[in-house]
Symmetry: C2
DNA sequence: CTGTTAGCGCCTTCAG
DNA sequence: CTGAAGGCGCTAACAG
């Protein structure tokens, strides 16, 4: 017995787990043919006119034996894996991508799929590698997700595979893409202020960004539209990058040089935090002295005091839709699909009851 | 020819993608046997005494034909998949789990593995289902990750599979677990204050939590130890749950009833934000009037003004280590493995230069 | 180094 | 409903 081990693991590095029960085992145990068992396993009893009782019997045996089909065998045979690949630049960038993932995950579950993720960390070489890897594994489709830059260049290998862009677009719009409707969001934000009677001396905080990240431009365009439609005037833009410290600093110097505005539209929630800090340092109260409205609808929005009203990105819905589009192969419906931002009310706009 | 289609897609729903090049194609093209090609593919040329030149030739053909091995076939044959399953309760809960995932992901890459993730949303039924699903797919191991409760009951199906617990432990400590060393972190936090001469009137903000989430207890224990060792006294604990509003409210009422403390130890960064808000409302300056130190080292810590000094959880390192332990099958090294928290300096403690 | 043979577990004709 | 047969693409043992 002591000498046995060397012999019985002749199968290279193969794990010696006790052989799993196979479909043949089930068939034998139930006294039917492997063929029949297979049909029952795949719920194709009707086509083959298999009686309900034998089907039931076989299923009982499957339960009893705790039979589980070998996914790898199925995969090999069917050349598909009930798996969706996700290529993402930064999975770890906060709740942002996480929520997209959650949406995708639950939708995938609905269709009996699982997600396989690869994080590229913005490295093109790593991206190529991960795409290959995913394709090798015969994923049924790929979701290309990005958090930072919104305009991307889709890897060639994906051109002829089922692919959906999530939170980004490709210059040649020949692939379905799921995006937030920032322009409509901008309109909604502005209309919310206008509805509260804030028609003048309203400023945007944050810069428009460049073409590769058009969210800012779109939001601002929507804001301008709404003001124009209401015959009101957007006072201007206080330029700063979209983060806490820059916003804090920019608003502080701006307040030194100017006056107290009636309302501020912050291009994201982090900017809002900076704005809150700068206003607090001046002893200005929100919303009594200044109203604030924001974008993103992240946790941070609800942490501010008072909570900032924010147009929430439909992240989970976007992730969800990405999977649906991918699996329903509505590849005819190419081009961007825009989901609306939803106003998440806080108490940062005058007249609001939080 | 017009009648052909009905016949040639007899293979059910099988996708009709032009047949990929197979290992046999490569072998033929290179004028060697399939066997040889296989050995070369798997870098086992030495064992089989295959000449360098034929190996090179075959590899050249592989490149030329853009040959990629069929992972499903390999998987079936080898009964392993170079894939790691991740079971997580809430992937979408902020940067927290995301960073764990990032660490795991890069480590997996190092070993040529990919991650497959299942989010249970805290639902036991869904958890069971996902575990089955992952096991069906023959993942080489599973990382069981949790964000909320730290003490979990590992699904039975995982007992006899390679498994690593990430950020949690199982009551029967028979499975490797990766955890942050909160007690040492607590000591470090306290020592940082003590080193700044803050020896009295130091309060903890946040409650200890229950046994299922021992982070609070551990941090507090560490804090007490350090104070005891320094012959100083921890003044007490201001109880509140670990979130912004509760902390803000608790500290506000506490300040009403008491006095201005010399320093506050916040049990996480969200509590710090609440504390900052309450102090600001009283016109108290940080760190001039009150010093603050915190735990987690999240983005939020760097957003505060001044940045709060925080003991950062080693999240990516934890994710990384989880994969390493899993793949190196150091399953002998069972029981918890604790990684240290690192002080991330802000400017919230008196005498610190931010 | 080659060729053969065998099989991983499953799915799908096709002829009973 | 059955049984036989073929094959997905790759790996491995074995006898040349």
């Amino acid at each position: 017995v002591a000498a046995a081990p060397a012999g019985n693991r002749g199968e290279g590095t193969l794990v010696a787990r006790s052989r799993r029960t196979t479909l043949l085992d089930v068939a034998k145990q139930a006294g039917v043919s492997r063929t029949t068992a297979s049909y029952i396993l795949n719920d194709r009893t009707e086509q083959m006119r298999i009686s309900e009782e034998t089907a039931a019997r076989v299923r009982a045996v499957m339960d009893e034996l705790e039979y589980r089909p070998n996914r790898n065998a199925q995969n090999l045979r069917r050349a598909q894996t009930k798996t969706i690949g996700v290529i993402s630049d930064f999975v770890a960038s906060g709740a942002f991508s996480s929520q997209l993932l959650r949406g995708a995950n639950t939708a995938a579950r609905r269709h009996d799929h699982l997600l396989m993720i690869g994080e590229t960390l913005g490295d093109p070489a790593l991206e190529t590698l991960l795409v290959e890897e995913l394709l090798d594994r015969q994923v049924d489709g790929i979701i290309y997700l990005t958090v930072s830059a919104s305009t991307v260049h889709l890897p060639d290998r994906l051109r002829d595979r089922p692919t959906v862009l999530l939170n980004c677009v490709d210059p040649n719009l020949d692939v379905p893409a799921i995006l937030p409707d920032d322009e409509a969001g901008g309109r909604a934000a502005a209309e919310h202020l206008l509805g509260a009677g804030l028609r003048r001396d309203v400023w945007v905080v944050g810069d428009a960004g460049d073409d590769s990240a058009p969210a800012g431009q779109n939001r601002i365009r929507g804001i301008r539209q709404a003001f124009r439609d209401a015959d009101a005037d957007l006072a201007g833009i206080i330029e700063c990058s979209w983060d806490v410290q820059p916003a804090r600093a920019a608003l502080a110097t701006w307040l030194d040089a100017r006056h107290v505005p009636s309302a501020l539209i912050c291009l994201n929630d982090r900017v809002s935090l900076g704005v809150y800090q700068a206003l607090a340092a001046r002893g200005l109260a929100i919303p009594r002295d200044v109203s604030v409205i924001s974008f993103d609808g992240s946790d941070l929005a609800s942490w501010l005091d008072p909570q900032v009203s924010s147009l929430a990105l439909p992240l989970t819905a976007m992730g969800d839709m990405a999977v649906e589009v991918l699996l329903n192969a509505d590849h005819h419906a190419v081009g961007p699909l825009m989901l609306p931002l939803l106003l998440q009310r806080g108490g940062s706009v005058i007249g609001e009851d939080s």
